[in-house]
Symmetry: C2
Subunit: 149 residues, 2 copies
């Protein structure tokens, strides 16, 4: 049981933008370099985050990615729910499971998933981008900016 | 976010064995046919369930798979934990994430996973093999036995 790489990267993008200085614009390439993921993967994730209203892209010389929401207002459960896309924990349809009509295991798993999201909703983007995690993000960004010259 | 196919099948095997009549032995082939999965996949899963002491295999003419534990004593959280193998929800190591030392997102996700398992521990194998799910399991088994002649 693992979050998709799409969700994982989406969360990291949000954390990165939540913490870095607003003065230095962040590009897709910076995200790709920092997390060692393909550039087109970042583009897809940022596109989705844009549609959700959580990230905006500004064009031009000082353009880049900006957070479109206050980090303390964005709950992590909501982030994960949107990025995972309400997929159930088991695939009852490929191949079609003989128990899928009214399966009690499926209902129990749905309840488990709801408990997971409820717990994740106790955390905001600000919470998970704070303290030493936040300090690390800031150091990473500053190194990138200074290497870029 | 999805359970592995290994875990999914493991849960189904346990449910099947929890509900079918003890008089008719269940074979790996019956499980493979009912859930439309490869026979060698069933063997691997049953082997793991055997190591956990939850399923025993009896040889001979009336041999087959038997549940090695009382369904009301086996908690689903425990089943999932054992079959999933304590894998975290995100892969911080491939590629190595720059935030992995003391990441607050990772800690939050671990708490979410613990909440999921705690919720799943509210259900026993008997719970998820009861009612209409149990009736379906029984019907499936009887059809299989009668088709076999």
């Amino acid at each position: 049981m693992q979050l998709t790489r799409f969700t994982d990267l989406g969360l990291r993008v949000l954390m990165y933008l939540a913490r870095v200085e607003r003065a230095d614009p962040v590009t897709n390439q910076e995200i790709a370099d920092q997390f060692q993921v393909p550039h087109n993967h970042v583009i897809k994730v940022v596109n989705k985050l844009g549609k959700l209203g959580w990230v905006s892209t500004q064009r031009g010389r000082n353009g880049g990615l900006r957070l479109g929401v206050a980090p303390q207002a964005l709950r992590i459960g909501k982030v994960l729910r949107e990025l995972e896309g309400q997929a159930p924990l088991v695939n009852c349809h490929e191949p079609p499971c003989v128990l899928r009509a009214g399966c009690l295991a499926k209902s129990a798993l749905d309840a488990g998933l709801a408990a997971f999201y409820a717990k994740m909703d106790e955390y905001t983007l600000a919470d998970v981008s704070a303290q030493r995690t936040g300090a690390q993000l800031l150091t990473l960004h500053r190194k990138f900016v200074s290497a870029r010259g």
